[in-house]
Amino acid sequence: MSILDQPSSSSLSGGGVTSRQAWGLVGLLAAAIVAWLVFAIWPAWLNAILISKKAFVSAILNGLTLAGLYFLVASGFTLIFGLMRNINLAHGSLYLLGAYIGYEVTSRTGYWLLGVAAGFTVLAIIGVIMQVFVFRRLEGDDLRQTLVTIGISIVAADMMLAVWAGGTYQIATPEWLDGALTLPIITAVRSNGASVFLTYPLYRVVVLAAAIVIGVGLWLMLNKTRVGMMIRAGVDDRAMLSASGVNVHAVFAIVFAVGAGLAGFAGVVGGSALSVAPGEDVRYLLASLVVVIVGGMGSITGAAIGALLIGLAEQIGLVYFPTYGVVLTFVIMVVTLAVRPQGIMGKAR
């Protein structure tokens, strides 16, 4: 207790703990509490407060899955923003278009993986086309670039409505991804002493795993490769990168391809887990906006943290305060802006 009582500013005096250590301790404590909540058999009073253990753990798992999806969408958004300083408000449309393309390819060929690949590839190409034909023409004018993306999103939403109408589609997942996974989490103990284990759809676990793999892959690409080095340099100082002989336009095109492709990929994956319908573009645009505002613009780690916070808040809100779920998301955003306007991992500019 005495450790926590120390003011964090004492880090300079040498004695006591640094603020970083204190935060680490708080984090460990929180992790321990969560681990206990997930794995222990709940006493009755806890069940009374939090409805039931099954509801609580399911909300957390759903939140994690949703966070994975949000991360996939928002990471492209934040990369594009970080490098090019324009807000791609057509990002939600890219997500929805990816989902529709995934649906078409999957239902025609019968191969889900082909649909996922098509969603990524087609959207990556569209991203490059947008970068070359639209954004390059308006270079240096961030506001106009943003306004143009609004125009594109309007036209895109309307064209998609014309082609796929207003119906709701569900992308069929392959058989090897169907079914449920029994997790080693005991939700309750029956009166005869047998434990009830939590089951969870396998597909959602795969979505989460895919998001983690892609997140790690992105991190590696940004931090360990030459292209990543250029992108990071571009985020910090675009003009200087250009002056040191790097073809900035090629870097921009790569970032746009990866960002748009990830949005398309997320569209197919998300369209298989949830559904594809008009209006989803706005939903995922809002999600990316909030995730990036909370996490910090231009930071992949920030996008991961933001996605985790927003995904969990949304699902926990859905279970415990159904009509105020959106407000919870909103409160997180306002608190972040009030405490740290540049976002959790954002750099002050």
């Binding site: 324009n86 609004i150 125009g151 309307d158 014309a162 906006l289 990036v292």
Partner: protein, 342 residues
């Protein structure tokens, strides 16, 4: 400052026509006489509706043009006023409806809108430029989803219906002609107020802050307070427009404050031009006319494609909207007229 006063004093007697400007005078007279010619449809659905959206876009123009803060939450602010009128006044949705008379409900509604606008401003001025657009869009979208899900205050998906414009002095103010004059009155007042405000000390300070916040801060001006006050003023305009909007529609639902409408307001302001307060009204007329008559050209379904393409064209060709286009053509016309003969 002293230079301008000398310049003003140098003109011996400025008559009232010069002060208002001949263009304004002709435009005002034409608008006052417009009901003599126009049918009821053109009076309310086109002119009245354009003026309501013009005032909404004007509140955005005030923020963006003078303050450099591009907001997508203006319809949200107007929606707060509209919902407040429905809740404080009377509606036939059997939810809330305090039944207050309009002359109490309307000031409260506008005040609520102005205060929430100031709050939105206070949140968003913590960041700058393009971030403001992002944060206000997030606020607008979150409010839309909240209104849709919340039944206790917003009556969920269906919203409120059966809201009537007041009847006093023996006039039903929702009848075409009175409603037109109501809209015209608000539009003229807010236009004059913004034009006057832009030349006032506060307006000048705001524009200086837009151009260089750091320098103004160093000079001792409270940058945040000025910006938040601009949001408050814009909130009053948007709130008044919201009251007229709910009287016009007779109902308010989450669809009224949807993201598409929020973007429509931005489109109106950008198409019209953000440099002068007349821009939003020009944009509103163009967009409303397109909205009404595009059905005959491209069909009702593909209207959004048309407006999106027009918007894209304007952004690409003329960053200052139609006003900018006019500003670019005018010098050429003037030169043409100077040339004697062919």
């Amino acid at each position: 400052m002293s230079l301008t006063t000398i310049a003003d004093g140098a003109v011996p007697q400025q008559n009232w026509l010069d002060k208002i400007g001949a263009g304004h005078f002709i435009l005002g007279t034409a608008l006052l006489l417009y009901p003599l010619l126009a049918s009821d449809f053109f009076l309310t659905q086109i002119a009245g509706y354009s003026m309501i959206f013009g005032v909404l876009a004007l509140s955005l123009m005030l923020l963006a043009g003078y303050g450099g803060m591009l907001s997508l939450a203006q319809i949200t602010v107007a929606g707060i006023a509209a919902y407040a009128v429905a809740i404080l006044g009377s509606n036939n949705s059997n939810v809330l409806g305090f039944g207050w008379p309009w002359w109490i409900a309307v000031p409260f509604a506008v005040a609520a809108a102005a205060v929430s606008s100031a709050l939105i401003g206070w949140i968003s001025v913590r960041t700058e430029g393009i971030y403001t657009l992002m944060i206000t869009l997030a606020i607008a979208t979150a409010t839309f989803y909240f209104a849709q899900q919340n039944y206790a205050i917003f009556n969920g998906h269906s919203g409120y219906a059966g809201i009537h414009a007041p009847v006093f002095w023996g006039i039903d103010w929702r009848d075409p002609k009175p409603f037109y004059y109501l809209c015209l009155g608000l539009a003229m007042l807010s236009y004059a107020a913004v034009l006057y405000g832009s030349r006032s000390t506060f307006g000048m300070t705001l524009q200086a802050i837009r151009d260089n916040p750091r320098r103004m801060g160093a000079l001792g001006y409270h940058v945040t307070a000025h910006k938040v006050f601009a949001w408050f003023l814009a909130g009053i305009l948007a709130g008044l427009a919201g009251v007229l909007l709910v009287w016009f529609n007779g109902r308010v639902s989450p669809g009224t404050i949807g993201v598409d409408v929020a973007i429509d307001i931005l489109i109106i302001a950008v198409i019209g031009g953000l440099r002068h307060p007349i821009g939003p009204f020009v944009g509103a007329i163009v967009v409303i006319l397109m909205q009404t008559f595009a059905i005959d050209i491209v069909g009702a379904e593909r209207f959004n494609t048309l407006i999106g393409l027009v918007f894209l064209a304007i952004v690409f060709v003329s960053p200052d909207g139609i006003l900018g286009l006019w500003g670019r053509i005018k010098p050429h016309l003037a030169q043409e007229s100077l040339r004697a003969g062919p």
